[in-house]
Amino acid sequence: MTVSMLLPGCALVLVGIVGVLARRSLLSVLLSFNVGVVGACLLLASAEAEHPKGLVAAFVVAGCGLWISLCGGAVALAVYRRKGTLHVDELREMRG
């Protein structure tokens, strides 16, 4: 395992998790999610020496990250059109 990419990867995943949990704007949450995806790709690439499929998994993670970001952006725009806000605390209709 490449330790030189392991540390930045862990740091990026942590920053992404903190950003997703701490921010309240839907777009900021998606941007922080992207940071976590970059960190996950770094982690998977660093594990490539022991697991040869790590690179393929990193490709899949990057593609899924792109897909989630695109759909999340489209959903954010639809939410804004309907509700007039992107603040996640004000979107309460789905809460049980």
């Binding site: 490449t2 030189s4 930045p8 701490a22 777009l27 941007l31 790709c41 990057a62 593609g63 725009l77």
Partner: protein
């Protein structure tokens, strides 16, 4: 010489990657956060490329840069009020853009001869690394350009298929 430059570049890229990533949740303006994320993604892509994962580095840079630009576009659309003036997103446009970006990167990255051959040398000698880096940068630039083109085409698809409501 090459080993020292390699180490320095690695440390700089790793530090820049983490630093820009920290700025993303800290910024309250979305466009600044998107800029910091774009720089973070670039540093991560360059870091991966430096370690021999050329296809993955270029793909991450193209894919996540596309998503960052898209989110920035959404924020700008919200800011200038284009939503109320009748523009709406086509789900087909988003889907087509994502499919082109993902499969384009997968095809170019996995089946390109240059990237297939782009494995770093197993020996740790600086001369072998220098030869490998030189050969890589002279052969893989077409594929990197192809990946960037795929990302641009996917963005273009997303933007073009945003249609105006009648």
């Amino acid at each position: 010489m090459f080993s020292t430059a390699f180490e320095t570049a690695h440390h700089l890229l790793a530090a820049g990657c983490v630093l820009f990533a920290v700025f993303v949740p800290l910024q309250h303006r979305v466009e600044r956060a998107a800029g910091a994320l774009a720089l973070c993604v670039l540093c991560a892509g360059a870091l991966l490329t430096l370690h021999g994962h050329v296809a993955l580095g270029a793909s991450i840079a193209v894919l996540l840069m596309a998503s960052t630009l898209f989110l920035l576009f959404v924020q700008l659309t919200v800011d200038v009020g284009e939503v109320r003036s009748g523009r709406r997103f086509s789900v087909r446009g988003v889907f087509a853009g994502a499919v082109v970006a993902f499969f384009g990167a997968a095809v170019v990255g996995n089946w390109s001869p240059s990237f297939q051959a782009a494995t770093p040398p197993s020996t740790s000698s600086p001369a072998a690394k220098a030869d490998w880096a030189q050969a890589l940068f002279t052969t893989a630039h077409v594929e990197v350009a192809l990946l960037c083109g795929m990302g641009l085409i996917s963005l273009l698809l997303v933007f073009l298929l945003i249609r105006r409501q009648p």
